[in-house]
């Protein structure tokens, strides 16, 4: 079962190719859409909403043809735009109730669901104040609330963490995770920051220059590597020497990277050796952890391959 299916999706604006032969199958859950600015993320979202006809190719959203049945798609999808789209002269409650009505909810249901959704996104007393006085973080929450209020089957979140401070960013990512995991609503979330998506997405699609670079589950992308990071509070050099003497392959100067043979019990002697060496030297062990792949490594082959970046 897939939420979004595209086959050979291409969009050209005159001589500019925004999307180039994009074919993806996205499963339910939280899917990250990663790409630099101008990679075609926003174009893809417009096509998914049925607002922009593709030059060629097919696109299915929730089993509906987004080109022919755009209205039906938009009724079941929630959309949080990247840019600011909130009027200043109404309160969050009034705006979200109104948007719920425009999505076809009867008045009473619109009011009930608005109160619910605003609570879920973390707006409490301030929801009665005019939006004009809101902080960026609160505005993002209102934008998210209006995308969720009609209980869609899929939400498209365009750069939800844009302009937020680190704490606000964490809150927003936590919310994105909850929408997918607790609310049971599929999410397509875009970002140009890879590290963010790593934490909340089940799968990641990387686009660059309108082309699909890679589509994989986050678990694959962030699998454990066979490297043990070791950090101590003093005499790092001596520790490195001791570990090498014990037959381990060691790199790095401030943080030591100890090569492991692979996953599983075969590595246990290595952990023991590090522990014993540290104890023997009488120094403090600050950190000892298994390194993971980061999604950013997905980009490396692309940067090496010439001609991919248009």
């Amino acid at each position: 079962m897939t939420v979004i299916t595209t086959r050979g999706l291409t969009k050209r604006y005159g001589p500019v190719t925004a999307l180039d032969d994009l074919s993806v199958d996205l499963a339910p859950g939280v899917v990250g859409l990663v790409g630099a600015n101008g990679a075609g993320k926003s174009t893809l979202i417009k096509i998914l909403l049925g607002l922009l006809p593709p030059t060629s190719g097919t696109v299915e959203v929730l089993g509906l043809d987004a080109v022919a049945e755009g209205e039906a798609v938009r009724a079941r999808v929630g959309y949080m735009p990247e840019h600011d789209c909130l009027p200043a002269d109404v309160s969050a409650t009034e705006l979200v109730v109104h948007m719920a009505r425009i999505s076809g909810l009867p008045p009473t249901a619109a009011r009930e669901r608005t109160a619910d959704v605003l609570r879920h996104v973390g707006l409490y007393e301030e929801r009665y104040r005019l939006i004009g006085g809101y902080s960026t973080g609160m505005r993002q929450r209102v934008k998210l609330a209006q995308a969720l209020v009609h209980d869609p089957d899929l939400v498209l979140l365009d750069e939800p963490t844009n302009g937020l401070d680190p704490a606000g960013r964490d809150d927003m990512l936590g919310l994105v995770r909850r929408i997918g995991a607790d609310f049971g609503i599929s999410v397509l979330v875009t970002s140009h920051l890879l590290g963010e998506l790593e934490r909340v997405c089940d799968a990641v699609v990387v686009v660059d220059g309108g082309r699909l670079l890679r589509s994989s589950s986050t678990a694959d992308a962030t699998a454990q590597r066979s490297v043990l990071a070791v950090e101590v509070d003093a005499r790092t050099g001596e520790l490195a020497a001791a570990l090498r003497a014990a037959g381990l392959q060691v790199d790095g100067d401030r943080v030591l990277e100890v090569a492991l043979r692979g996953a599983g019990p075969a590595d246990e002697p290595a952990y023991d050796l590090v522990r014993d060496a540290v104890a023997h030297l009488g120094i403090g062990l600050l950190r000892m952890e298994r390194r993971r792949h980061s999604i950013s490594e997905l980009f490396r082959p692309a940067e090496e391959a010439p001609g991919v970046r248009a």
């Binding site: 926003s42 979202i45 417009k46 909403l49 607002l51 209205e71 039906a72 938009r74 009724a75 999808v77 959309y79 735009p81 990247e82 840019h83 600011d84 789209c85 909130l86 009027p87 200043a88 002269d89 109404v90 009034e94 109104h98 948007m99 009505r101 425009i102 999505s103 076809g104 909810l105 009867p106 249901a109 669901r113 619910d116 879920h120 005019l130 209006q146 009609h150 209980d151 365009d158 607790d182 609310f183 049971g184």
Partner: protein, 299 residues
């Protein structure tokens, strides 16, 4: 049924129900358009908005209605035999106030959505662009109709209280109200088209005021010129230029409304031309608004 033994302590606990899904009814496009229409009409009087946005509409409503109220009271106190001002002539006499109202509200209805890009939220929903245009046009026409019709109704009530001839008054008031409705639609159409191409609200207000005042002024000058030179053609065709004289001309032609100093459509053809122009303005402003809404890009 046995009641389980619930500890008293839990009585005040708020349970987090989690995210509740909605499986109630979802309304169709017609009701959605109506919801947008109602919200916009309320917005045109600042209802559901800040106190500041209520001031102008209600001030203008009071200013437009007050003279009618004075006329009605004077009529009842002095017991004269006529109102002194015709129902059809009343909107013309408060013309600047009506212009001021549509100039203030048309940008509030449309420029606000364009400027803050709220249209993105509308068009990413099942609402069609024509639906949006229809709702906004109907909303401003309705809101303006309140402003034009209320004083006419006040005059009519005054006339009935003073026991002026019932049927004659009713007919004249009906002609007046009909004119008010047409005038409200014309003003709404013209003002919204101008507002839709001026995304900045202040600019929109100034543009609508300028256009309406200019049309009225040019019409007045041409009419005066025609009277001076004894050029009846110029005098009476000039009425096509302003929405106010367009409506008053139609009222003279179709119902013989007493509007002596305003242009009278010349001949049998004149009336039809006036009607055709009025309809063309309405259809044209709708078409232009739809065209404008299609050019709005989402995201």
């Amino acid at each position: 049924m046995s009641v389980p033994d619930v500890p008293a302590r839990s009585a005040g606990v708020i349970h987090d129900l989690g995210f509740r899904h909605y499986d109630g009814p979802r309304l169709g496009r017609r009701q959605v358009v109506r919801a947008l229409f109602v919200e916009s009409t309320r917005g045109a009087y600042g209802l559901g908005r800040s106190t500041r946005s209520k001031i102008m509409p209600f001030l203008l409503l009071a200013a437009v209605t007050l003279p009618a109220l004075v006329v009605a009271v004077v009529l009842n106190v002095t017991g004269t035999a006529s109102l002194g001002i015709g129902y059809a002539a009343y909107p013309i006499s408060v013309l600047p106030l009506l212009s001021l109202y549509v100039a203030g509200q048309a940008p509030a209805l449309v420029s606000r959505d364009l400027r803050f890009r709220v249209v993105t939220l509308y068009f990413s929903r099942p609402l069609r662009r024509e639906d949006y245009v229809r709702a906004k046009l109907a909303a401003l026409a309705c809101a303006t109709a309140v402003l034009t019709c209320l004083p006419v109704l006040v005059l009519y009530a005054g006339a009935l209280l003073a026991q002026l001839p019932f049927w004659a008054q009713t007919r004249a008031a009906a002609v007046g109200l009909l004119g008010c409705l047409l005038l409200s639609m014309l003003l709404a159409g013209i003002a919204l088209v101008i507002a839709a191409v001026t995304p900045r609200r202040g600019l929109g207000v100034a543009a609508v005021i300028t256009v309406l005042v200019m049309l009225t002024a040019v019409q007045g000058i041409l009419q005066a010129l025609g009277q001076d030179q004894g050029n009846a053609g110029l005098e009476h065709w000039s009425g096509l230029l302003s929405p106010f004289t367009l409506v008053s001309g139609l009222q003279r032609w179709a119902f013989d409304a007493p509007l002596e100093d305003l242009p009278d459509p010349p001949g049998a053809l004149g009336g039809w031309v006036y009607l055709a122009v009025a309809l063309a303005v309405l259809a044209g402003s709708y078409a232009l608004l739809v065209l404008r809404s299609r050019r709005v890009s989402v995201s």
